[in-house]
């Protein structure tokens, strides 16, 4: 693939901007696994949580006003999609965070737990790609 580091850096700054706004204005960590996971705990979400999640889902609508949406390339193997989804779902709740909560927010406050979680994500993720292709 052609790495486009300008878009990557600008996109990263927007991601950091979104996480910063949620922290500065709402006093909340922009953790997505927590926001979705709480819905499965029969805990009624706050309006702020629902709107935060809505923002993610509606993002392509806004993006498409300015630029064409990118083509994405995903596996079509249903077994892999289901096993991967279950692992990400269970893992994010057991480990208390995902690439947003630990990866962006936790690392930015130098949380020891988040640094270890991120190293595990990347280490095991890279191992999985290496072994299973």
């Amino acid at each position: 693939m052609n790495p486009d580091w300008v878009s990557a850096l600008l996109g990263g700054i927007m991601i950091g901007g979104g996480a910063s706004l949620f922290l500065l204005a709402n006093g909340r960590i922009a953790g997505v696994s927590g926001a979705i996971g709480n819905l499965t705990k029969r805990v009624w979400p706050t309006t702020e949580t629902i709107l935060f999640i809505t923002g993610f889902i509606a993002a392509p609508l806004v993006y498409s006003q300015f630029s064409p949406l990118p083509e994405i390339d995903a596996t079509r193997n249903i077994a892999i999609l289901i096993i991967g989804g279950l692992a990400v779902g269970i893992g994010s709740q057991l480990g208390g965070g995902c690439t947003a909560g630990h990866g962006v927010c936790g690392n930015a406050r130098f949380s020891k737990r988040s640094i270890i979680a991120t190293l595990m994500f990347i280490g095991v993720g890279a191992g999985t790609v290496l072994v299973l292709g």
Partner: protein, 147 residues
């Protein structure tokens, strides 16, 4: 106002995921392919995101409440336990297998691809199963401590 900032936070984060192509599972898997045709994009995404978020943490670190008067997050826990290690490893496995995860998953739902729907449904099912297991686990532990 806080409702508006919550929505804009999600929109900004999601648009950053699209611009940086982190919504593309193939791009994420190419980053994890260190011993193959490595794509460094995710490194630049993380540098941008963490630098900006670190400034936000510095600002709230000196405050009692958020700028709009909300309670701020507690200090991070420093306990490294088995749950953190095993959970993050399972997450990394699913992430490497599919190139998909939670936040990009939400935004990619808006792109209307069936592959993402299948992944997302399994992910929510996994979260549900975990919390049911955890409730039972806590219940059992309570009974043991009482006897």
């Amino acid at each position: 106002m806080r409702k508006l900032t919550a929505l804009v936070s999600g929109l900004l984060f999601g648009n950053g995921l699209i611009l940086s192509d982190m919504v593309n599972p193939a791009r994420v898997r190419a980053f994890l392919d260190f011993f193959g045709d490595w794509d460094p994009s995710l490194t630049f995404v993380m540098i941008g995101a963490i630098s900006v978020a670190a400034v936000a943490w510095l600002i709230v670190g000196k405050r009692e409440t958020s700028l709009l008067g909300s309670e701020l997050p507690a200090k991070p826990s420093t306990t490294i336990d088995r749950r953190l290690i095993v959970g993050s490893a399972a997450f990394g496995f699913g992430w490497g297998l599919t190139g998909m995860c939670t936040a990009p998953g939400l935004t990619t739902l808006g792109l209307g691809r069936w592959e993402v729907l299948v992944f997302f449904a399994a992910m929510v099912a996994g979260m549900y199963l975990y919390h049911r297991w955890n409730d039972l686990h806590l219940l059992r532990r309570d009974k043991l401590t009482r006897t």
